[in-house]
Symmetry: C2
Subunit: 198 residues, 2 copies
DNA sequence: CCACAATATGAGACTTAGTCCAGAATGAGA
DNA sequence: TCTCATTCTGGACTAAGTCTCATATTGTGG
């Protein structure tokens, strides 16, 4: 990860542009809907050329998905990475989400918004699913050293990561539909998972 | 589900058209790559008008994803549905995949092909992820009656379904990269995580 | 501080995806 | 067979996504 500040100007600038485009995409799509927002609008809002937009994102929907889900999912992965190294995988996951519980309210709006947007745009739903898979992969890497007796090419880190993301998806879905306490929902989902020895 | 044959001509025709388009999309994309295949080609090959194509699928990639992954994932869900009703969820999953082991070889080519195609097309990867989520949802429905003490809005059916699909994804990935016995890989993945009662 | 190599951006042309609509065709039911 | 509801078609239209080349910006060795 290493977001250290001494990373060279080019790299920092690149990251900033990436974030700026994603943010513009998320904001405009939230205000007008995905279908009514054009790439030109997003590019103009982020102060880049149209061609530059496509250097950073594969599609309009990709940018929106990253802009809405990205910040939140980044918090999750960072929280996992932050857990003390001696915690085994599942405990690290639980601890990370517990730690994030207070930050939920701040993101609740955006999360709800994404649900609304994906309802109206299958393309956005697809790219959101893809975004989730990317974070799932990142989480899997973080979990590898936390599986004590991990053999070579053990599937369990990836499966745990997949179930962590599934817990988020399922709980989010339930929360959007019937309200309730989102952190508690996620906690319950996570709690029902357990790793078996090989 | 109900694929009974007495469904009315219109319904059967519609299903046939859907399958024909998906198959054409999969074949052409496999031969030429997704990027070099146009919707016009697919529509022409499937003998429908361009406008009709978009009545059946949201995007070119959606059709390809369904055409390549669909038949195989349909086998999976049907195998699960076919298990005797008294089997609890996890056992039903294991039994279904065991039952499918002999059919793997027949689909191995297509599965490998999809992996190659998604490598070269992020858009296809996104729509494939979405397709997996759809099947995951279908599987979750099938598992609900197989969870003995399921409470209202219990997350476990969905989590189990997510485990099933994640097992497939992860094992597929491993198999594409390092060969091995795919059914055995899936079996191991399924066995390495369990969903506990609340 | 300067020059040069490497890489990021900008601009605009071009192909093709995806939407929309009015009219033809087709199946369900009387 | 006739009518109604739905689905398919063909074509026009907007915008997504690709490509190329010129220009600007950053990192690096002198």
């Amino acid at each position: 990860m290493s977001h250290s500040e001494a990373d060279g100007l080019a790299v920092r600038k690149r990251r900033a542009t990436y974030a700026r485009i994603a943010a513009s995409a998320a904001r405009l799509a939230g205000e007008q809907g995905v279908g009514n927002t054009t790439v030109d609008q997003i590019a103009q809002d982020a102060e880049v050329a149209r061609a530059t937009f496509f250097r950073y994102f594969d599609s309009k929907e990709s940018a929106v998905a990253e802009g809405v889900a990205g910040p939140w999912l980044t918090l999750v992965t960072e929280a996992i990475a932050r857990q003390p190294g001696h915690l085994p995988a599942k405990e690290a996951l639980v601890a990370a989400f517990t730690e994030l519980a207070d930050q939920f309210p701040a993101h609740a709006g955006q999360i709800r918004e994404l649900a609304g947007l994906t309802r109206g745009s299958p393309a956005l739903a697809a790219w959101t699913a893809r975004a989730y898979q990317r974070y799932e992969h990142a989480i899997a890497e973080l979990l590898v050293p936390r599986i004590p007796d991990a053999t070579e090419r053990d599937p369990r880190p990836h499966l745990l990561a997949a179930l962590a993301m599934a817990s988020v998806r399922v709980s989010l879905d339930e929360w959007v539909r019937h309200e309730g306490d989102l952190p508690a929902l996620i906690h319950r989902a996570l709690g029902s998972i357990s790793i078996e020895p090989v």
